[in-house]
């Protein structure tokens, strides 16, 4: 609302309802339009990669909980996959199924959170968020049942999972999976065809497929732009190649497409979990591995499809029990590559919604 030659600087964050954590955007505005934007992160930087160099591979698993704290299971899984590839540890089949089940449950929980906060950013006064929280809550109950923790699960291990789920886990899981599609349909009535929501999200924050690929975007941000890329299909880990599911792909690459891709993915995840429950064999849940893993000197880049995209672990071993170099390829950090390009020229509400649709987790950005 001021003249063009007078920069109107707005600090969004580090404490702001729509930054989903301690994340700061420094925005130069002209009226409601953003003319320049700078992203300031690092408030949560714990130098995990440095700390990890002094811990064994197993000791590093809790760090992955705290990196992407909304998808701790996926973080665990990523590190385990990479470390198993480095050490050559075999994983029992039952453990692989358990991992798939928990990773997919985590995906549902994380997507519920992402979509709920996105709708909150669009202005719905927390109702969708709390509805999504209900589903997430049930999933976290399942986690608690299994490993005692809800958020920082630390459940997966190199060579399997830490615990066999208790007996009451399975009926609860079945009930949840039976009920979830109904619930998702119900939310779709509230949200997906809501005209205000459509007006706020259609055609906003459009990322073309070319930009998305070139900008290293992965996960729903990439799929929302119409690129059918999912590591569960492209490079199947665990038992994903035995399960029947589909990749949802957006049409225009806007905020709404990313939202809908997440919505659809939760449905596909329930499908996966249902099949996994059917197929899961009996057997050990874990390979016994020694306390100190001393992998051969070498390096490996292991990656999985986390709820936010390609979660990669680049591990370099020098033969000692600790990794020589431990690098996390954090999807929500790299997905921000295009944020400035998206935000500049759009209005403040649009930028907020766009940021929400990219679905950042500050723990993972800062590590």
């Amino acid at each position: 609302m001021t003249a063009a030659n007078e920069p109107y600087i707005l600090n969004i964050g580090p404490q702001h309802p729509s930054t989903h954590g301690v994340f700061r955007l420094r925005v130069a505005m002209d009226g409601e339009t953003i003319v320049d934007m700078d992203m300031i992160v690092g408030y949560l930087h714990r130098s995990m990669e440095k700390l990890a160099e002094e811990r064994t591979y197993t000791q590093n698993i809790p760090f992955t909980d705290r990196a992407d704290y909304l998808a701790a299971m996926s973080g665990n899984l990523g590190l385990c996959i990479a470390a198993e590839r480095l050490t050559g540890v075999e994983v029992p089949e039952r453990a692989q199924y358990l991992r798939v089940i928990f990773a997919e449950l985590q995906r549902i929980a994380s997507h519920a959170m992402a979509n709920g906060t996105l709708v909150s950013d669009a202005g719905a006064w927390q109702t969708p968020l709390l509805y999504m929280f209900r589903e997430r809550e049930k999933i976290l109950d399942l986690f608690e049942m299994t490993c005692g923790a809800r958020l920082t699960t630390n459940y997966m291990r190199i060579g399997g999972v830490a615990f066999e789920p208790p007996a009451e886990f399975w009926p609860a899981l079945r009930e949840l999976v039976d009920e979830l599609p109904d619930r998702i349909d119900e939310y779709s009535q509230l949200l997906i065809d809501n005209e205000i929501f459509l007006a706020r999200t259609r055609g906003i924050g459009v990322i073309s497929a070319e930009d998305a690929i070139n900008g290293s975007l992965t996960g729903p941000a990439l799929r929302g732009s119409g690129v059918p890329w999912d590591l569960r299909k492209a490079e199947p880990y665990d038992v994903y190649d035995r399960l029947d599911f589909e990749i949802p792909v957006g049409r225009g690459g806007d905020v709404y497409d990313r939202f809908m891709v997440r919505f659809e993915e939760t449905k596909q995840s329930t499908r996966i979990i249902k099949q996994a429950i059917e197929q899961i064999p009996d057997g050990p849940h874990k390979t016994q591995i020694p306390l100190a893993l001393r992998p051969e000197p070498g390096e490996v880049y292991g990656r999985i499809e986390s709820p936010r995209g390609e979660l990669g672990f680049y591990l370099v071993s020098d033969g000692s029990p600790a990794p020589y170099r431990f690098h996390i390829r954090a999807p929500s950090f790299i997905n921000l590559s295009l944020l400035r390009q998206l935000a500049v020229g759009s209005t403040l509400p649009d930028a907020v919604v766009t940021l929400g649709s990219i679905d950042i987790v500050v723990g993972e950005i800062d590590r």
Partner: protein, 202 residues
């Protein structure tokens, strides 16, 4: 070491790369291709544009401190062909490391190279916005370097897991000797403070 399930053999990539851009490849193993740092961008652009490799996306890039040099590792991937290529570039200068920026080819390098600059101190020439990202301007040093905090010979790393027992092979995954300076390591093995010493320069 098995490369990833979809990772291309470094030899194959190196062969094609060398044919197109003679002299660009320094070494190649089964896993990666090491290119000359000065011509890194050329190599990346060629891989990006070639229809055979179609390395459309820079999946990951990070640096490894090898005590006397830096290794920059780029994991490229083709979504259409569903394969992965690992490219490395060695920076010999450990004091003032610099490398051309991959931003010209991959926009996704924007934040990743800023991160590497912040934590490793590698300067990327041609990067549009090279500032520290996680740490504040003026932070002393680059924490991911092995000589960070300047503790002389003491470098991070875990030479021996505390509960590890050389006499019971079932508690050790791989009792083979270490690659780096095995004799020195063997001497220090029982010395408790030096347990936390990392690998010495090769």
């Amino acid at each position: 070491m098995p490369p990833g399930p979809t990772q291309l053999s470094g030899h194959r990539v190196a062969e094609r790369l060398n044919a197109a851009l003679p002299g660009v490849v320094v070494t190649a193993t089964d896993e990666w291709v090491e290119v000359a740092p000065a011509r890194l961008v050329d190599a990346l652009r060629w891989l990006h544009d070639s229809s055979e490799f179609d390395a459309a996306q820079l999946s990951n890039c990070c640096a490894v401190d090898r005590h006397d040099r830096f290794e920059m590792v780029y994991h490229l991937q083709s979504l259409d062909l569903n394969h992965q290529i690992a490219i490395k570039a060695t920076i010999a200068d450990h004091e003032q490391p610099a490398l051309p920026s991959a931003y010209a080819v991959y926009k996704g390098a924007l934040l990743q190279e800023r991160e590497v600059y912040d934590l490793m101190g590698i300067v990327f020439d041609g990067h549009p916005d090279l500032r520290r990202i996680f740490l504040w301007e003026g932070f002393p040093g680059h924490p991911l370097r092995k000589d960070f905090l300047g503790l002389g010979n003491l470098t991070p790393g875990l030479a021996r897991f505390p509960f590890e027992d050389r006499d019971r092979p079932d508690r050790i995954m791989n009792p083979a000797p270490l690659r780096h300076d095995a004799s020195a390591r063997a001497q220090n093995e029982q010395d408790v403070p030096d347990d936390w010493r990392g690998a010495a320069p090769a």
